[in-house]
């Protein structure tokens, strides 16, 4: 399979590129030692640390050592928390996964039916109303919708907890806030995919055979329209993880997004670096997975290639 090989190679290049970019960003300020020492360290302590961490070596040597460490999955020690960075981040990952899962559920649950309805009832008031809804979801700043929900459902009505991670109920508002933008892209994609399929001959053929419009859509159109939507779903997971930075800060949800912001404040930059690398790796893998899944679900593409 030459296609698989070239996609794997592309992913490897992207991974290598991400590692390189992050390496150089960490050195943009000139002296990365200063990013890692706790506040109030003396000049001697900084100099000693610079030597221990190897930041006094030539840049290329540092780069090689960085890649070797990462290849051995050694992400370093946090100098603030005196613990391995990998552990600190891994502890928070399940929370972000739960949040991203909830958001994906909201996005799929609302976005797919909305997109389908917009395509089927094209040109009616329903389409226009849904289009407005989708557009609003796309333009809503997550931290604003989050705060408004806290104010209304949390404080005014008192139905849902305003922050924290005690039970499933506290996952509802963050998921809705985070899922809104993704919902919009699902609705748009589904609408276009369904419209594309509705204009095909098999729809007319199905109708001519005496199938009802609804049956044609359920049995044939949806199955074909699902293909591009599945691809988008995989890509959106990466966006959800990134969007979590803001939503988790608003709702005090203890995932990697909140950890990233807390770590910037406490100057724990290795943790921030690890989070950026982790999310990027997830993003690249999902991209690869989406491309490969495309071929598996849609036999036409396999043959064309």
């Amino acid at each position: 399979m030459p296609e698989l090989k070239s996609r794997l190679l592309q992913a490897l290049i992207a991974i290598f590129g991400v590692l390189t970019i992050v390496f150089f960003i960490m050195r943009l300020s000139g002296d990365p030692t200063l990013l890692l020492v706790p506040d109030g360290a003396t000049a001697e302590q900084i100099a000693a640390l610079r030597h221990v961490l190897g930041f006094d070596r030539p840049l290329l040597v540092q780069y090689g050592a960085y890649l070797l460490d990462l290849a051995r999955l050694d992400l370093g020690q946090s100098l603030v928390q005196h613990a391995p960075v990998a552990g600190i981040v891994a502890e928070r990952i399940p929370y972000t996964m739960a949040l991203a899962g909830g958001a994906l559920l909201v996005a799929l649950g609302v976005g797919l039916p909305a997109g389908l309805a917009m395509a089927v009832w094209r040109g009616t008031w329903l389409e226009r109303a849904l289009a407005g809804f989708v557009l609003a979801g796309q333009s809503l700043p997550t931290f604003w919708s989050g705060l408004l929900m806290i104010l209304f459902f949390g404080v005014y009505l008192g139905w849902l907890p305003t922050s924290g991670s005690d039970d499933l109920a506290s996952l509802v508002m963050p998921s809705v806030a985070l899922g809104a933008i993704t919902m919009s892209s699902f609705a748009r994609m589904t609408r276009i995919a369904v419209l594309d399929e509705l204009s095909r001959d098999y729809v007319a053929a199905g109708r001519a055979r005496g199938l009802s419009y609804g049956a044609v859509i359920l049995r044939h159109v949806l199955r074909n329209a699902a293909i591009p939507v599945v691809t988008i779903a995989a890509l959106e997971v990466g966006n959800l993880l990134a969007g979590a930075v803001i939503v988790e800060t608003v709702f005090a949800w203890p995932g990697i997004g909140q950890l990233a912001i807390q770590s910037i404040a406490s100057r724990d930059f290795l943790v921030v670096q690890t989070i950026v690398l982790f999310v990027s790796m997830v993003y690249i893998s999902m991209n690869l997975l989406a491309d490969l899944a495309y071929g598996v679900i849609d036999p036409r593409i396999r043959r064309d290639r």
């Binding site: 590129g17 990013l35 333009s139 705060l147 104010l151 608003v250 990233a260 912001i261 950026v276 990027s280």
Partner: protein
């Protein structure tokens, strides 16, 4: 001239209001956005004193919210316009060169695009701003230098198409150098799709500026930004709803108008996409 619908007119009016408010912030604001008054903390909208009137109320330090929102619009417009200009310049230059020269230039450029797009933009911005330190200049620099890949993709694909057209071949045979061909003959023909991308990026940049300022990584206090006003208002969301409601509504409205304008522009540039 095609008739402009009421909806389109509203979009233009919204964008115009945003730009006028941003440019004329010092004219429209009756109070200094930085002047604190601890006696006038968290006053509701419509508060009037003997010397001043606060149509949208005051914030946690007794500053006029309307003035801060107006100056916040200015920060927002400046960051978005400057960072879009920087990324447009970088992205289009790379895309034109990749499309024209092909070969290893295009391989390197397009792999760089893939790599940049593999790091979620907001995280890349968060990391870079955190390393460099927050502030207006760094914000523009970071957003400008991380958001070029989409322009490169579009410019590359469009240049490939246009470069094969007879008139470009004719210009080449007439002895034009690559610089002249790309700037005078290719760029004007691919400007439409690039403007569509730039519009959607403009909306995103407004959101990014607000988000980063909300996280404390953008415009620094005491200078106002819609994001930082809301970040401060978060603690008082129960006592002072206006601190989150008004800046958020402005942000939502402006981004909505920019997105709608982008859709309108796309329909004009590419009639096939009508209503999609």
């Amino acid at each position: 001239m095609r008739r402009i619908s009421l909806g389109t007119a509203l979009i233009f009016a919204g964008l115009l209001a945003f730009i006028v408010a941003a440019i004329g912030a010092d004219v429209f604001a009756s109070n200094d956005p930085l002047r604190q008054s601890l006696l006038l903390r968290l006053r509701p909208p419509g508060t009037a004193t003997a010397t001043a009137y606060f149509p949208l109320g005051t914030d946690d330090l007794g500053r006029d919210l309307l003035a801060r929102i107006l100056y916040g619009a200015r920060a927002s417009l400046m960051v978005a316009a400057l960072s879009v200009s920087v990324s447009l310049l970088v992205g289009v230059t790379l895309g034109l060169m990749a499309g024209w020269f092909g070969g290893w230039v295009s391989i390197v450029a397009m792999r760089a695009v893939d790599t940049m797009l593999s790091i979620p933009a907001i995280l890349l911005a968060v990391l870079t701003v955190a390393v460099l330190g927050p502030g207006f200049f760094n914000l523009v620099l970071v957003l400008g230098l991380t958001r070029w890949p989409r322009y490169t993709r579009v410019a590359y694909a469009q240049t490939l198409q246009v470069a094969a057209l007879p008139y470009v071949r004719a210009a080449e045979m007439a002895g034009c150098g690559p610089g002249r061909i790309l700037l005078r003959h290719v760029l004007p023909n691919i400007a439409g799709p690039l403007m569509v991308v730039a519009t959607s990026e403009f909306g995103l940049m407004i959101l990014f500026e607000a988000s980063l300022s909300f996280l404390g990584l953008g415009i620094q206090p005491p200078y106002p930004s819609w994001g930082s006003i809301m970040s401060a208002g978060r603690q008082y969301v129960v006592r002072a709803w206006w601190l989150t409601a008004f800046p958020g509504a402005c942000l939502f409205g402006v981004v909505l108008c920019v997105n709608l304008f982008g859709d309108w522009l796309r329909d004009r540039v590419d009639p096939r996409s009508q209503g999609r």
